[in-house]
């Protein structure tokens, strides 16, 4: 029988060949647009005019001089902060409670909490717009029976950020919860039992044993929370407030959409996108630094 030999590079070619479909779509729909956006950020253009004016760095300079940029950046950080509390710290603690403390009903809670993750955030946003209407929604009406007039959150700086973050969290909470739960649940029970025998409080078990032992997943969820929050946070902003009041709820992602599709400042929008990407890249670098490098994968 003729024996087949490993043709030196054949495996390499095959390995790479498997990537061709993926690389093809990514090249067309991600990498090329990415560089195009970078390119456009040095121009002034309104999307249709045949003339693109090269303006050098002036889009970036304009951004840094614009007080709106500062506001949008600070909004973005507030969004991140709220997301971290609602979508990271809370599910972390709750996943601990479920994995270590709760004795029954785990499967039901897990299933129900994850459910909104499969539902459209647009639908969710429309629903919450009604439910949370401070004048006419159920919550507003209840408050009124106690003689309280709720603040009009969609027009109140700060509060609007909180409510929009909560709407985004409604969808994303379940995913983070499940992933964190898995990490916490994978910690050998003996370790926690020993701690309990030693009379260590639940809080200390969480802080000193559970958190460090699930830290790799913890960091993964932390970063996914920030990034997904920013990407998905766009939808409720667009559906509910369109960035208002006076940019009080605009995030970086929304603002670059706004610049491009409301004002047709393609150059400025691109510059803002580039800025956003730089921010994301820093987060990604952190992700790789903490998660991919420092974690030992068993083969």
């Amino acid at each position: 029988m003729q024996k087949r030999t490993k043709k030196g590079k054949w495996d390499h070619i095959k390995a790479f060949g498997f990537f061709i479909p993926v690389l093809l779509v990514f090249t067309i729909f991600v990498f090329t647009p990415f560089f195009k956006t970078l390119y456009l950020s040095f121009f002034e253009w309104n999307l249709i005019s045949p003339k693109k004016t090269f303006v050098g760095l002036s889009n970036y300079i304009a951004l840094f001089q614009d007080p709106v940029t500062v506001k949008v950046l600070s909004n973005t950080f507030v969004y991140i902060l709220i997301m971290l509390v609602v979508n990271f710290i809370v599910p972390y603690i709750m996943s601990y409670m479920m994995a270590i403390m709760l004795k029954k009903g785990q499967n039901f809670y897990k299933g129900a909490i994850f459910l909104p993750y499969v539902i459209s955030l647009v639908v969710g946003s429309i629903l919450y717009l009604w439910i949370l209407n401070p004048v006419s929604g159920p919550i507003g009406l209840i408050a009124r029976t106690f003689g309280i007039r709720l603040p009009i959150w969609s027009k109140t700086d700060g509060l609007v950020l909180l409510i929009l973050s909560l709407i985004t969290s409604w969808k994303l909470f379940g995913y983070n919860f499940i992933v964190l739960f898995a990490a916490v649940n994978n910690i050998p029970k003996e370790i926690i039992e020993v701690a309990k025998l030693d009379g260590i409080s639940n809080w200390h078990i969480f802080k000193d044993i559970v958190t460090p032992m699930s830290s790799a997943t913890g960091i993964y969820v932390l970063i996914i929370t920030i990034v997904q929050g920013l990407q998905q946070g766009f939808t409720p902003i667009k559906v509910v407030t369109q960035g208002g009041p006076n940019y009080g709820s605009a995030s970086l992602t929304y603002q670059s959409y706004h610049e491009a599709f409301t004002l047709y400042h393609i150059g400025k929008s691109s510059a803002l996108s580039v800025l956003t990407m730089v921010l994301f890249m820093v987060l990604l670098a952190l992700e790789f630094y903490f998660v991919e490098r420092n974690v030992y994968y068993e083969n």
Partner: protein, 273 residues
């Protein structure tokens, strides 16, 4: 006795969380059976004062709703199948082949998760239009294929396959094709199913892009059907919008309930092992 109270408190907390998360769904369902008048004036009651199917009837008679569902289904299914195949190949290559630049490639692909969609929106619109795919279902689905999530999830699950299984098969002379179809796919089938469902659901819920691309009613997807009843100038027809929302939610929720175990299992391994 202290223990019991403690459990009660925990259950209270979790039930509250579930209620908060699921209330909007119940609210949507309840309002979709109300008249608009009822919805405006009967905010509290989840049971309609007069139960009506009018909203659903309206949706079905006014819009070619089955076609809209069909379009959405076509897009989501096609996207799912293509993405599963391409992600599977890429993930296999990442896990079971060694080649130069493998980690760099993965890093680059993974980093695309972090690119805000606003970056790619304008150039993609131009690309799709210049291919003559504006206002077409294909134009809606093609850019969705560029998604690294599947590669990420399937790579994670393939890493769980003991290497010796693959080596044994190689030793027996199994080709890569044999290994993928005969060993890898059966072994990570639950993960493939749940990744597929996730693809399906994400594509199903896709909003900004179809709304940007589609203009002809016969090509509409559910996102546009919803948009049809929300107009700033004409006002939102809330109860009809709720009927559309309910219709939009039914399929993802059904899929989720059927495959709940697979999905939860997959996500519990999608973290960092």
């Amino acid at each position: 006795m202290k223990i019991k109270e403690h459990q009660l408190g925990l259950h209270f907390l979790f039930i509250l969380t579930v209620l908060v998360l699921l209330f909007p769904l119940v609210y949507a369902l309840s309002n979709s059976f109300k008249t608009l008048n009822d919805a405006f004036n009967n905010v509290f009651s989840l049971i309609p004062r007069e139960f009506t199917l009018q909203n659903y009837i309206h949706v079905f008679t006014r819009l070619d709703f089955m076609r809209i569902v069909g379009n959405t289904f076509f897009i989501s299914t096609t996207v799912t199948i293509f993405k599963i195949i391409t992600s599977l190949l890429a993930a296999y290559s990442l896990v079971f082949f060694n080649f130069k630049g493998k980690n760099t490639l993965y890093f680059i692909l993974l980093s695309t998760m972090f690119i805000p969609f606003t970056v790619t929106m304008i150039p993609n619109y131009l690309t799709i239009s210049s291919w003559g795919l504006g206002d077409s279902l294909i134009g809606v689905l093609i850019p969705q294929l560029a998604d690294v999530l599947g590669i990420f999830l399937l790579r994670q699950s393939m890493r769980g396959i003991p290497r010796s299984l693959i080596e044994y098969a190689q030793l027996e002379g199994a080709s890569t094709y044999n290994i993928i179809t005969g060993i890898v796919i059966p072994l990570i089938r639950p993960n493939i199913i749940s990744t597929g469902i996730l693809f399906f659901v994400n594509s199903w819920n896709e909003y900004v892009w179809p709304v940007l691309i589609l203009k002809t009613k016969s090509k509409f997807t559910l996102s546009l059907a919803l948009q049809m009843f929300i107009s700033s100038e004409g006002g939102t027809d809330f109860t009809i919008a709720m009927a559309v929302s309910v219709m939009t939610m039914i399929i993802p929720i059904t899929l989720y309930l059927i495959f709940q175990r697979y999905i939860l299992d997959t996500f519990t391994t999608s973290g960092v092992k």
